[in-house]
Symmetry: C2
Subunit: 446 residues, 2 copies
């Protein structure tokens, strides 16, 4: 197999879990060979698969090239006959230094590694740019849903105002189950775990870490500036109670965990965050249920867009990775490289205290005269204006539910702190931001 201009492009695959196995099966399937060559304009050939445990059998497919498996990822990346590197190891190291080594050797890299890209994406993109090669990662956010490429290319002429994503399938599955079955968070989590929709240790999903990494990637793309995970304040869904979900439903809302990147009041400051929100049923995101993902984009000229689909699964993610491999192959022949996500624009985050939103608050209180006056006074002290109030339950079960008008977050935080100090308040439970539809833009999570 000599290297000529007509020869195949040689692909190194780092990591061979669900996604890696599905990808290698797609690339090595003799039935798909002609189709792939037509699409990529060249033959694609897997020439090495780096894994941690070389003894494990990966695939039942007879054509799966088990003989290409190696335990030495570093040497694979440094081979001279590699044209494209696919990183599917996940995590920060060794994935980061392997990608960097590949880029510095002028190899295009495809990755689905959201954690790494959210931490070092800007740095890696600059290395790719300097070496004139692609760094593509369509699969890093929302699996097979085309999100990265639309933001980077289709919307290149657009001033994006806001991106709101349901980008974590586990939390959306749990919230959907809570709404459909009326069960509590713990029961829905149990169900998700028993169905393999949640990890044994679900922290990264349910506390919002995973969504925060994706929010950073979306924010960097939408606004052309460097956003990293540590820039993204996040809240998860473990404090959401069955009563909150029921109340939201009664008012015509669904509770969703949102990854939000937005220009604050037209910019230039931005805000990139993750939080659970009450989304009005008429909003397209409200009907994204189960393990589905969606990214909702508002632009100055394009109006409202939504990209929707299954967010995860080895097959779907492998399909997105393969799309990137084919794109990189097409580019390689001309020396073109996809543009870096960051356009080097200065980034300025609006301090979270200064952000404004309408809120839902549920407060467990002692049920006796004068309680509402005491609680309402705290809201007033903090300039948090009440849109509606409702009491549910009696005696020890009494609970006050407030919807506020749009308020400063700093004021709401101060209000909650003082509420917790009131002797009549047992607990401040669910706190949710409210995302209304077009008909009430004043209530948007801005």
């Amino acid at each position: 197999m000599t290297e000529t201009s007509q020869g195949p492009l040689r692909v190194a695959v780092l990591g061979c879990g669900n996604v890696g196995t599905a990808l290698v099966e797609l690339l090595a399937d003799p039935d798909r060979h002609d189709e792939l060559r037509t699409r990529a304009g060249v033959d694609l050939e897997v020439v090495g698969i780096a894994v941690k445990d070389t003894s494990r059998h990966r695939s039942e497919q007879p054509f799966f090239p088990h003989h290409l498996i190696t335990g030495d990822a570093r040497s694979l990346v440094e081979r001279d006959d590699i044209d494209i590197v696919v990183e599917l190891i996940g995590g920060i190291e060794p994935a980061g230094s392997l990608i960097e080594a590949a880029l510095r050797r002028g190899r295009p890299v495809i990755s689905a590694n959201k954690a790494l890209l959210a931490q070092s994406g800007a740095e890696l993109a600059h290395i790719a740019l300097a070496h004139g090669v692609d760094l593509l990662y369509e699969a890093a956010v929302a699996g097979a849903i085309p999100v990265i490429r639309p933001l980077r290319e289709s919307l290149a002429g657009e001033r994006v105002l806001r991106v709101m994503g349901i980008v974590n399938g586990t939390t959306n599955f749990i919230l959907t189950a809570m709404a459909a079955e009326g069960v509590d968070y713990e029961d829905a989590l149990d169900e998700a775990q028993s169905l393999g929709m949640a990890e044994r240790d679900p922290t990264a999903d349910v506390e919002g870490h995973d969504a925060a990494a994706k929010a950073a990637i979306l924010g960097a793309l939408a606004f052309g500036c460097d956003v990293v995970s540590s820039d993204v304040p996040f809240e998860g869904i473990s404090a959401v109670r069955a009563a909150d979900v029921a109340f939201a439903q009664r008012l015509g809302y669904a509770i969703k965990l949102l990854a939000v990147a937005e220009l604050v009041e037209g910019g230039p400051e931005i805000s990139v965050r993750v939080y659970p929100a009450m989304v009005r049923n008429s909003h397209p995101l409200a009907t994204v249920n189960g393990s589905f993902n969606a990214v909702f984009i508002e632009g100055e000229h394009c109006g409202e867009l939504m990209l929707y689909g299954r967010g995860a699964g080895g097959q779907a993610t492998a399909s997105a990775v393969l799309g990137d491999v084919i794109d990189a192959a097409r580019h390689l022949r001309s020396g073109f490289a996809a543009p870096a996500p960051s356009r080097g624009l200065p980034v300025k985050f609006r301090p979270t205290d200064e952000l404004r939103s309408a809120y839902y608050l549920s407060i467990d209180v002692a049920d006796r005269p004068g309680v509402l006056a005491a609680v309402a006074a705290v809201f007033g002290d903090h300039q948090v204006s009440i849109r509606s109030m409702e009491q549910t339950g009696l005696g020890d079960e009494a609970r006050l539910i407030f919807l506020t008008h749009v308020a400063r977050e700093g004021d709401v935080i101060g209000c909650i702190a003082d509420l917790r100090r009131l002797p009549v308040v047992d607990e401040v439970g669910g706190v949710l931001r409210i995302v209304d539809g077009d008909d009430d833009p004043g209530g948007m999570g801005a």
Copy 2:
């Protein structure tokens, strides 16, 4: 203005209606200049605007370059100092020969001309390919919604099984109004016309011509073969009656005009068509209302995707065109060109008689004993199996509504012809295909 490697890229705009005006405003706005240069990697400069009526004032913006307007499109395209040509004239000629001239001179072309692309897209793409330049047309289908690029690039590694689009805003507006207000087709059309949502002569929209052009473009992209408008059988919505909409609602369906391109039972034959269908409410397409557009994609590995947004409007379309201009500018520096939509695969259409679907039929009949037996016998003669039947009205108003099991289209056509010959049948009215959700794939419009 000397031509150096650092100089601006010179853009010729052909046609200056709503979209052209909005595009030139975006390109010429001094406030957007730095942002555009950062995104495109180079300055973009409009150097000529070809129009039919040079006397008309186009824009109120003080920076709008009215002095660049010319009546001579041909000379503009043939200028040596043009780098990129944007065609927004619409229609077949002179748009087609102008695009061809530009491509043959090695100029990338951006077009939003669905009629031309559906008729001559394959031919023009082959000319672009031969000259190594881009032919981009993200705006030709579903306005600002990224559809073309996801199909061509993000899903390059995917075997697409079916694309179903709501791609005509006028018909979707009319059908949504019929459902929301219970009004008849004629009244909803009047309303659409008075709101500027339908043309004075609505034929191209309501009879499905426009959707058929977009179906051809989607089919060519999804299956990598040459599909032209004349390959696409189409039906419009003018025969849909208020009673059909009401019946569909009662059964949990919405009526939508769908542009469908699909592999028939796994291929290799395809079918590309436009027809009104009853779409089950649980299907994501069912809730795409008003003038919104959406394209629903099913792939072997990616599962179900939907791309959703506003399908029309000068601003939104101009934003999509500008995204293509920026992409072409990025590509020009390396000589890369986006891949042609057709991969030259042989195309074979399944004869429409052989297609299979479940159907809704509404039949006006004389209300007397024995009618149902006579009608049911015709269904039986044609091997069209009945899933359910319901009579509405009495006497002269009697109507039988049938839902069929999945049947051969040829059999259904024969059945309808024989029904029309029955003395007891006054009229065979609404005929709709039924698109069910995942829970009943047997009923899909395949």
